[in-house]
Symmetry: C2
DNA sequence: CTTTGCATTAACCAAATGGTTAAACTTTAT
DNA sequence: ATAAAGTTTAACCATTTGGTTAATGCAAAG
């Protein structure tokens, strides 16, 4: 292990790894210290408590998930191109952090407060509203089939996110190894976009 | 609380509720005992250890998930009708146990062994193979668009399962309450089937 | 009624776990 | 060089937690 990063950064990196893998309840402070290669007391020296450390990791993870979505969503493209961009970008982003979906969904279920706190800081996702309205408009104009905007959004999200959450299942049931999963994911960047666009074609 | 069930059944019911809600790492034996309204020692008297109790709960949960899928999958219908049945039945089943998806996915990631053990008992999901082959055949015959059978299966599963896993997110981000969620779910029984069938139309 | 065997409980135990502390070590400033 | 400030560690502490036990309750069999 190279020792280039500062202790604080080492701790955050280790905490990310352990928390994302085991969740808040399953993670042990000792695990994080071991992963970082430091004494357990340093975790408290720099970050006070397990909860404080977790909050930082969760916030960062959550930001990573929505910031990417946010930027893609607010580009100036036709709806089909936009959807293609969203799918491609989202799958790409998750491929770099495959543990993110299950981690966030799970911790959110354990403690919905995490979200509330989050949305008091950042305004309530303004670009999402615009996106939903555009879907509604496209439906009216006949550019795409009429479909409840929220339902379509859920469909897009489902198709992008679920495979990462279900990775262990795919591994176990159809014996999919890491390489196959990588290929499957790669193929999905276009396949899912095609699938959605065909489904909402007028 | 009515006291009709035997102690063993009470324990299993309580364990299900707590484990499904908090997961293996987050659940406390005391929580389960309290939920069942009995002394903690009884848990060990009847089921030996936390792990043993968890195994029973997990196995039952997993069976519920795949048995329903299994029976629907092996009916004699046209592929479109079959897909419609799968979607409808699956969403309906999950609506009765909304915690199931996140629970299973999460515990599976914590310990992939759970699956291995499971597939040593039951033969490796024979009807699934048939279903995949039928998708391939329908693709060749032009009944549906050509699509990788596994990808299509993942798409179907994604659209059915993900909303249940993302429930806290929907609650937090678009302020969806229980009633709205119920309606959304109900609508999805047909909407998702339409969506998929339109997407794979030749 | 009493004995026998199962069910149930309160009290207890040992290990794990989040957190603290005092001392040692390192770096920086004077 | 030395003092001061910040960093790191081993040892320790209090609480939580899974698990055990010995005693009590209780129903059915004798």
């Amino acid at each position: 292990m190279s020792q280039e990063k500062s202790t604080e950064e080492q701790i955050i990196a280790a905490a990310k790894k352990i928390f994302l893998q085991k969740g808040l309840a399953g993670a042990r402070m000792q695990d994080i210290a071991d992963e970082a290669g430091i004494n357990k007391a340093l975790l408290h020296y720099y970050y006070r408590s397990k909860d404080k450390l977790f909050d930082i990791v969760f916030d960062e993870a959550f930001d990573k998930v929505i910031s990417r979505l946010s930027t893609i969503i607010s580009t100036n493209m036709s709806l089909p191109d936009r959807i293609r961009s969203i799918v491609r970008g989202y799958i790409e982003g998750l491929a770099e952090n495959p543990h993110l979906p299950l981690f966030i969904l799970n911790e959110l279920q354990q403690d919905p407060e995490l979200l509330i706190r989050k949305f008091k800081a950042k305004p309530n996702f303004p670009n999402l509203q615009l996106f939903l309205m555009e879907i509604a408009r496209a439906g009216e104009q006949g550019t795409i089939r009429k479909i409840s905007p929220i339902q379509l959004m859920i469909n897009i999200l489902s198709l992008c996110v679920f495979p990462f959450a279900a990775r262990p299942l795919l591994k176990g049931v159809v014996g999919m190894d890491d390489v196959q999963f990588r290929l499957l994911t790669e193929e999905r960047k276009e396949l899912v976009a095609d699938f959605i666009l065909k489904a909402i074609e007028p």
